[in-house]
């Protein structure tokens, strides 16, 4: 119970469904910010008190469990490392993957519980054979199945989402008010909970030492200098401070962040269009496709609030390549080809694959291919035309 309205209503519904419920608030920081205004999802004393007051009203026991060390290791440090590696991580997904449905679930199962019940807007559907599937919530606007895309069959077997069928958030707030929860009108949390003022760049800047490096175009020509590659995200336009304008006079966007060489690659907006996405870290949310190595039709969603886009996907075997730097072992990856090129795709993001409303699985994106080839008449840099950009 985060101290927000969703988990409070979810707990109340679970009680009414006949379950024995214990309210657990996750302590994710040893130094909780005191009495921050508004809701930022977790970590504050006020949130902890709000959660406890909701538990009191529901009539369930309430405990605070300390996962601060695991959270720091698996979510906060991972977030910093991912940015330092030039990727764009989603810490909420990492928290679901490593904390809420892993560390918390493990501890709960060991202590005699059967499942973790949360206030996520998503549905679990059991098929004719008793297999659990993860589906979108009935209220598409509030659907949070994307951030649960990392859950595996085993995790889904021990998960409950009582808000999945709710038509709207307004209905949940109304129900909370009816139940007498003080949090009925508490604002939703949007920001990253461990960055209290929402200034992600500033927060990262204090933790990743920035180093001056080059800004290149796709052909490898040096266009200017930056003060630290970590400050840039793929798709970013502002803050490039390039003196010379592009030949076509159009604005340039960050296409790629290369942490090893500490360079930032920029180019025209069209070059942001991505025709291929791939990731070696993929999971299936329930039963996998019968033949994942055969191309299958699906929808792909690459951000929490993006629309699903038609695509085909398949699992590809990648042979070993000992001559590569670093050497590549034989492995498989999930490769997704959107029907129309996608924008706003960056390595580190999660691509969730849907079939209809069902979440089939996901991968963390580690490779993208631009839909727009580099002009080959002026190749000065190390970027071959139409290359895969591998951020390792």
């Amino acid at each position: 119970m985060s101290g927000g309205v969703d988990s409070a209503v979810a707990a109340a519904r679970a009680v009414e469904a006949g379950h024995e419920v214990v309210g657990v608030h996750l302590a994710l920081s040893r130094m909780p910010g005191t009495l921050r205004t508004g809701s930022r999802g977790c970590c504050t004393v006020e949130d902890s008190m709000d959660a406890q007051r909701a538990a009191n009203i529901i009539g369930i026991p309430y405990y605070v469990w300390d996962f601060s060390e695991r959270f720091k290791l698996d979510v906060v440090d991972d977030f910093i490392a991912e940015y330092a590696a030039g990727r764009t991580p989603n810490p909420c997904m990492r928290c679901n993957e490593k904390i809420k449905f892993a560390a918390l679930l493990e501890k709960a199962l060991a202590l005699g519980f059967d499942a973790v019940c949360t206030g996520h807007y998503a549905s679990i559907v059991t098929d004719a054979d008793g297999n659990r599937e993860l589906h979108r919530a009935s209220a598409w606007a509030k659907d949070q199945s994307y951030v649960l895309g990392v859950l595996t069959k085993e995790q889904l077997a021990h998960s409950m989402f009582p808000l999945g069928d709710t038509p709207s958030k307004a209905e949940v707030r109304a129900e909370a008010a009816e139940r007498g929860f003080s949090v009925a009108n508490k604002p939703d949390s949007y920001d990253i909970c461990f960055i209290p003022d929402g200034d992600t760049r500033g927060w990262l800047g204090e933790r990743v030492a920035p180093e001056t490096g080059d800004i290149l175009d796709r052909e490898g020509n040096k266009l200017g200098q930056h003060e630290g590659a970590v400050a840039f995200t793929v798709g970013q336009r502002k803050g490039l401070s390039i003196g010379t304008p592009a030949a076509d006079g159009k604005p340039r966007f960050v296409l790629e962040v290369r942490p090893v060489s500490n360079t930032v690659v920029v180019g025209p907006k069209e070059a942001l269009a991505i025709k291929e996405i791939a990731g070696t870290k993929y999971t299936w949310a329930g039963l996998p496709p019968e033949h994942p190595e055969i191309e299958f039709a699906c929808d792909v969603q690459i951000r929490a609030h993006a629309d699903p886009e038609p695509a085909v996907a398949q699992v590809i075997s990648v042979p070993a390549d000992p001559s590569a730097t670093p050497p590549v072992e034989a492995h498989t990856e999930l490769r997704i080809l959107p029907t129309e090129p996608l924008t706003g795709v960056a390595p580190g993001q999660t691509a969730v694959v849907y079939v209809g409303t069902r979440v089939l699985g996901q991968c963390t994106i580690d490779r993208t291919v631009s839909a727009v080839p580099v002009k080959s008449d002026n190749v000065a840099g190390p970027v071959p035309a139409d290359s895969a950009t591998i951020n390792a």
């Binding site: 419920v21 302590a27 005191t34 009539g59 369930i60 490593k98 501890k107 995790q155």
Partner: protein, 407 residues
């Protein structure tokens, strides 16, 4: 699952059940109108009730009534002593304090260090949780003229170890350094003789009502009549100008009832508690052979008293203390892991850390504390629930360990 009101309550160190007589006296005194500072007869009546209460509380610690300064809590009493002595002793800057103190002391001296330029010197504890007297003597000797005060617990609130308060006082008194004793956890469990302590060099001593069956919301600083402290609260000049604010007659009356009842049969109650406590220790050891008993190992048979009679403190290697606490709670037994911060997060025991134990050990602590209402049935309930709880908690492991498979 519902909240159990028939729990075996084994957390008397957190707060003790109120004595029925203290509740009655509290309610009756609240019905009496009159500010003890008022001159009319109703004020005088309130004043009479207040001062009778002060006399009875003074008797419970063998002090003069004028030496009892009522406060709003034990923590306020500790703050008043430490800050008040520090400011009164300006320009001296050194505060000597053992490791493993209660947060009321730790946070107060750290605040003085940050805000007022104090230099805090932490005196090490031995493995039983007892202050290293040689280290204290050496610390004083570094610059005795600059020591503002020495403060220490009479008994550690987590592991129950009694401190050699007279020896500490003697070391400080040789240099005219005032000593404050936080006796909040000791009060009601071991005899406190402020007159005798003052003769060895103790200047001030803190107690709290709710640890002995009185109400929450009132404590006292026993402050020698020869000692000046700078007040924290200014106003009407009540209580020797040390603690302004309208005095809480009803709380003082209730406090006095508990104090009198507590002192009446202290020795007999201690003998009873030590036997009960030893049955906890034997039972826990039988149920969980790997459990480590922490603090001074005195027992009912040993004849020595190095530990609070109602305190049994264990570490359970491989378990989170808060997992055990949860499982025992579900089974109807209330215990503690030590201290929790304001968000309710169990903290690794800083007391065990000060005793030289690892972070993992400090997270696996469980404090079982007995008091006046404790019975063998409470102990039996604990021992009946413990084996299953321990096995499950071991399964849950430590929160910072590597994840396991869950199917």
């Amino acid at each position: 699952m519902s909240v159990h009101f028939d729990h075996a309550y084994l957390d008397h160190a957190a707060t003790a059940p109120m004595l029925p007589a203290a509740i009655t006296a509290y309610a009756e005194a609240m019905a009496v109108v009159g500010n003890p500072a008022s001159i009319h007869s109703q004020g005088q009546n309130a004043k009479r009730m207040l001062e009778e209460a002060r006399e009875r509380v003074a008797a419970s610690v063998h002090s003069d009534p004028i030496e009892i300064v009522f406060t709003g809590s034990g923590t306020e009493s500790v703050n008043l002593a430490i800050k008040g002595l520090y400011w009164a002793r300006a320009p001296r800057t050194r505060i000597l304090v053992p490791g493993g103190e209660h947060h009321a002391t730790v946070d107060t001296v750290e605040w003085l260090a940050q805000q007022e330029g104090a230099t805090v010197q932490w005196i090490p504890l031995d493995t039983l949780g007892r202050i290293d007297l040689a280290a204290l003597a050496a610390a004083i000797a570094e610059d005795p003229e600059d020591v503002a005060l020495v403060t220490l617990l009479a008994a550690n609130n987590e592991v129950g170890t009694l401190q050699p308060v007279e020896d500490v006082a003697a070391l400080a008194a040789a240099h005219g350094i005032p000593v404050h004793v936080d006796a909040i956890s000791a009060y009601g469990h071991v005899p406190i003789d402020f007159a005798a302590l003052h003769a060895t060099g103790v200047s001030a001593l803190s107690v709290s009502a709710h640890k002995i069956g009185g109400p929450v919301g009132i404590g006292a600083l026993v402050l020698s009549r020869t000692i000046t402290v700078v007040p924290l609260i200014h106003g009407g000049g009540q209580q020797r100008q040390v603690r302004s604010g309208t005095q809480d007659v009803a709380a003082a009356v209730s406090f006095a009832v508990a104090a009198t009842a507590m002192t009446a049969d202290l020795d007999a109650e201690n003998r009873r508690l030590r036997v009960l406590r030893d049955s906890v220790i034997a039972g826990v050891r039988a149920a969980v052979p790997s459990a480590v008993y922490n603090g001074d190992p005195d027992s009912a048979d040993s004849g020595t008293a190095g530990r609070l009679p109602g305190n049994a403190h264990f570490t359970f290697p491989g378990c989170e203390g808060d997992s055990l606490l949860f499982l025992l709670d579900v089974a109807g037994v209330s215990v503690s892991t030590g201290s929790a911060c304001q968000a309710g997060i169990p903290e690794p025991s800083h007391v065990l850390r000060a005793m030289g134990r690892s972070e993992a050990e400090a997270r696996s602590a469980l404090r079982i504390t007995l008091g006046r209402t404790s019975t063998q049935a409470d102990v039996d309930a604990l021992l009946a629930a413990l084996p299953v709880a321990w096995a499950q908690a071991i399964g849950a492991g430590m929160a910072d360990s590597a994840p396991r498979a869950y199917t």
